[in-house]
Amino acid sequence: MRVGFDISALKDTKWYELAVRFLFGGAITAITGMLANHYGPVFGGLFLAFPALFPASATLLEKHEQEKKRRAGIANTARGREAAALDARGAAIGSIGLVGFALIAWKLVPLSNGAIALFAALVVWVAISILIWRLRRHRLFLRKGHSGAASHAPVSSKGG
C-alpha cells in the first residue's frame, strides 16, 4: 500500500473542524505551559503527550463516516465507530513513535540548536511510526483476531 498526498481532500474539511482543532491544540499548549511554570517541567512535560486531539478527531471521523453512509442510504452506525477505532489504533502506533520523539528531544535539545533537535525528533517519530505501521500489515505485533473489522475497513480518516 503506497502512501500518498491528496491536496484536494482538504476541500472536505469544514471551517469549524479546523477551529475545534485550533482551540484544542492552543488550549492544551497553553495549559501545558502553565502547568510547567507552576509545578515544574517534570510534571508539565507529561502533558506534552496528553490526548488533546484524539477525542475531537475521532468524533469528527465517526460523524463523517455516518454521514457518508446516510447519504448512500445505509443506516449503519457501526461503520463510524469502526473508523474511529481504526483511528485509535493509529494513535497507539503513533504514541510508540512519540516515545522516540521524546527520547531524541531529551538527549539532543541540550546539546544542539533547538530547532535542529526538534526536527531530528520529528524525523524519528515519522520513521518509527511508519515502520510500525508497515509491520502491522505483516501482523507481527497484533494478536490473532484482534485486528477485527477495523483493520480492513477502507475508511476515510480525519485524524489530527
Partner: protein, 112 residues
Amino acid sequence: MQILFRFIIGGLVVSLFAAFADALKPKSFAGLFAAAPSVAIGTLGLTILSEGKLFAATEARSMIFGALALFFYAMAAMRLMMRYKLNAAPAAFSAIAVWIICGMGIWYVWLR
C-alpha cells in the same frame, strides 16, 4: 501575554498537522497523526526560547512517560469502541481516565 502566544502557536501547529493528516493517503495511515507531536513541537519550541534548553529537555524526558500513557489511552479507547460498542466521543473522553491514571501513576512512582 505569553499564554496567549502559546495558545496561538500551539493552535497553528496542531491545525497544520491536522490538515496534513487530512490530505494523506491511504486514510488508515492518517490515523498515526492522532498521536503526532504537534503540541510537543509548539510547547518545546516556545519553552526553549523562554525557559532555556535544560527546562525543555526535562519536559521532554517526562514526555516519554506521557507517551506511554497515551499508548494505553489509545488501546483503551479502541477496546471501548470495538468490544464494548461505545461511540467515539464517550469512548475517547472516558479513556482519558486511563491516561490520567497511567500518567499520574508514573509521575508519582518514578518522577516525583
